[in-house]
């Protein structure tokens, strides 16, 4: 069990939001922003300038990350970003109905995703393309959802990666239940096959009843689930302050489990903190809340227009904390990578993007039968009849009007 300091946080009364006797809403927001800027509680191993900083508590969780592994994390992030940019472009060209960008959240996702062991389970929201990558899902498999050919393409059992969930917060209770199952099955403990679950959601999601209920259930059943909140500062147009007066990670305390905030743009720190949290779960200490403090550098989705609600200054400030750039600088400065390495990754990324594009252009539309496919596991004769009638009706059109 980790040291309790990690989850005994200053009382909310001590925070900037409560210092003034009667703060105006603006002061409250300003105070939260100040708290949100990180401070002592933020776990960071690699600064935005690419300096490795020592952290006695968490260094041991990334002891095995040498030059090769760090290059691997860099490569993951570059490829995932490239695929994401291609997703945006494909939407702009009318190939996808919508795209949900992850730009800026690569470290938060790769750090968490690479901390998962094969036997662990992950429950994503809809922006987790980086975690999907770590679970062995090809970017192609994500396209179907956004092109509208399938609701969910990958095999969730094989990949141990649940289907994307669009209804905000739903998956948090589902993950708590899955984790309860892991415990009931005796998969928690010190055996090498011990399991844990990680569930992903946004800062906005923390306002949903389902998320609260997931916290309660996981806590009272000591379910081995890591709640991984990517606080990217915005829920479409609404800032985190619209969801909470308290830094989100501090909420964990009220449920009786540890909460921790990590620099979500620092892949090493995200990896270390996630490994620690998963280990807590696996060995039986129950749930952990991680708040990965990051920023959504692109629009919420390709249907969104962030210029209506956020200031460009904010975006500029966060660009300086780019999750990929700091690893690149660190690799270069410490002599862990030659220029050729970066060129190779770039070539690989371009290759991935062009494969993705080709795949997208060649994706066939599903046939009309797809509407009726697998509605029930046990079949439904009434629906079968409805399908047959409809297919007959379609067949009646000469020359394929449909």
């Amino acid at each position: 069990m980790s040291s309790p300091e990690q989850w005994t946080h200053p009382e909310p009364g001590g925070g900037p939001a409560a210092t003034a006797a009667k703060p105006t809403p603006e002061q409250v927001i300003a105070g939260l922003r100040a708290t949100n800027e990180g401070g002592a509680e933020l776990v960071e191993l690699l600064t935005p300038e690419g300096e490795r900083v020592a952290n006695p508590e968490f260094d041991k969780y990334v002891d095995d990350i040498g030059a090769e592994q760090l290059r691997g994390l860099y490569r993951d992030m570059v490829l995932v970003r490239r695929a994401d940019r291609e997703g945006n472009a494909l939407q702009r060209q009318g190939q996808l109905g919508i795209w949900v960008p992850l730009l800026g959240q690569e470290a938060a996702q790769i750090g968490a995703g690479r901390a998962l062991k094969p036997q662990d389970m992950a429950f994503p929201s809809y922006r987790e393309h980086g975690v999907a990558w770590c679970r062995g899902i090809k970017p192609e498999q994500i396209l179907a959802t956004f092109r509208g050919t399938q609701h969910s393409e990958w095999d969730p059992v094989q990949h141990r990666f649940h289907p994307y969930t669009i209804v905000i917060g739903n998956q948090v209770v589902n993950a708590a239940g899955y984790a309860m199952g892991q415990r009931f099955d005796g998969k928690v403990g010190n055996e090498p096959d011990a399991e844990a679950t990680m569930v992903f959601f946004g800062d906005g999601a923390t306002s949903q009843g389902d998320v609260h209920e997931g916290f309660v259930w996981a806590a009272v059943y000591d379910a081995p689930v890591v709640f991984y909140c990517q606080n990217n500062q915005w829920a479409i147009s609404e800032p985190t302050e619209r969801q909470s007066r308290l830094p989100l990670y501090q909420r964990a305390r009220g449920y009786g489990f540890p909460g921790i905030r990590v620099d979500g743009n620092d892949v090493l720190a995200c990896l270390a903190v996630s490994r620690w949290a998963l280990e807590e779960c696996r060995t039986g200490n129950g749930p952990v809340l991680i708040e990965a403090f990051t920023y959504r550098m692109d629009a919420h989705t390709t249907s969104d227009d962030p210029t209506r609600y956020r200031l460009s200054d904010e975006l500029e400030a966060w660009k300086l904390k780019d999750p990929i750039e700091r690893v690149r600088v660190h690799l270069v400065r410490s002599g862990m990578a030659e220029p050729e390495f970066f060129d190779e990754v770039q070539v690989e990324a371009d290759q991935l993007a062009s494969e993705l594009r080709a795949y997208c252009f060649n994706m066939p539309d599903p046939p009309a039968e797809r509407i009726f496919s697998k509605v029930y596991a046990g079949g439904n004769p009434v629906l079968d009849q409805q399908r047959d009638e409809y297919l007959d009706y379609l067949a009646g059109f000469e020359g394929g009007a449909h």
Partner: protein
């Protein structure tokens, strides 16, 4: 049921008044807010952003943050607090961003919104409106294309309406806000961009009444929301073949106003009901039941339903197949006439 009265004149923009349905709802909301300072608009992204469909565009700027609330991301909270606000004397207009996200609020709607008036035998009134963009045809991902209206029409204690054109949209939203009963207001999102001339001096058609939108003699088409336009298009196409179809826009789904439908069926003998929602246990099946009871001797064919299939809403690349279109409506008319 008497139509709500709107007494005060409200500011309207100078000509031209040809407006999209989206803009018409915006203007209707604005008019209601100007008339009554207790009218609040609340929902996710409705303030600064003006809503994901821009239906509330500019309202927060003009009425302030306590009349137009950007709420936390929590539908149970939106509807649940609206209940409290309504009890306190406000008239909240909640926006649920997409119909597929109304279910976190389902508990509040069914347990509180629909029942408080009954439980208190009228001591508590709940004049609140829940606006819900609904229906498919916009190429969206899951949970953004559904037609869940039957769940709510099944719930005694709330009223359910759906507008189908900008003129109705403008008036119906104001009438819904004026109503002392809770109203779920379904907006056909794929028709937000349809335009029409709005005469803001006109006397509005009553809210809880259906309406013949195209008179005809050969057969009757009854529909609501997004499919009214489809039915009108079908009637236009059928006219070329010498058929004269009557089209009825139901407008109110609970209470259903079927008098114009009965009257029409007694003349035509044929009824086709069109809706995007799955057909089983639906508004369409309710209509079929009542029409066969009321018009049994006038019917020359069974009431036919043209609906979405009894499946979850499919991936958008097959939604064209899923959604009833002009061909499916005409096919049903032909089958009815050939009976």
């Amino acid at each position: 049921m008497a139509a709500p009265v709107m007494d005060k004149k409200v500011a309207v923009p100078a000509a031209p008044t040809k407006l999209t349905m989206g803009k018409a709802i915006n203007m209707g909301l604005r008019a209601a807010m100007e008339r009554d300072p207790k009218v609040l608009v609340m929902g996710e992204d409705v303030g600064k952003m003006g809503g994901v469909y821009r239906i509330t565009d500019g309202l927060q700027k003009d009425f302030g943050e306590h009349r137009v609330l950007d709420t936390p991301l929590s539908e149970s909270g939106i509807v649940g607090t609206a209940v409290g606000l309504a009890v306190r004397g406000f008239r909240p207009v909640c926006e649920i961003q997409f119909e597929g996200f109304i279910f976190p609020a389902f508990d509040q709607i069914s347990s509180q919104v629909a029942k408080l008036h009954y439980r208190t035998q009228g001591m508590l009134k709940l004049p609140l409106v829940i606006r819900v963009p609904f229906g498919g045809g916009v190429g969206a991902v899951e949970h953004h294309s559904e037609s869940p209206e039957a769940y709510f029409a099944h719930m005694p204690g709330i009223k359910v309406v759906s507008c189908a054109n900008p003129v109705d949209a403008y008036w119906m939203i104001q009438q819904a806000i004026d109503s002392d009963d809770p109203v779920i207001f379904f907006e056909p999102k794929r028709r937000y961009h349809e335009k029409a001339e709005i005469d803001t001096d006109a006397t509005p058609y009553p809210l809880f009444k259906s309406r013949v939108v195209r008179p005809g003699t050969t057969a009757t088409l009854a529909s609501y929301g997004p499919l009214v336009k489809t039915c009108l298009d079908a009637a236009t196409a059928a006219a070329e073949d010498g058929q004269d179809l009557e089209v009825i826009d139901l407008r109110t789904l609970s209470p259903l106003d079927l008098d114009p439908v009965f009257e029409s069926v007694r003349r035509t003998g044929h009824l086709v009901v069109a809706s995007e929602a799955p057909g089983e246990v639906s508004i369409a099946s309710e209509i079929a039941d009542r029409v066969q009871r009321e018009c049994f001797y006038s019917l020359e064919a069974p009431v036919l339903k043209v609906t979405g299939f009894d499946t979850p809403y499919p991936p958008s690349k097959v939604e064209e197949e899923y959604l009833p279109d002009l061909d499916r409506v005409l096919d049903a008319v032909d089958r009815s006439l050939a009976w």
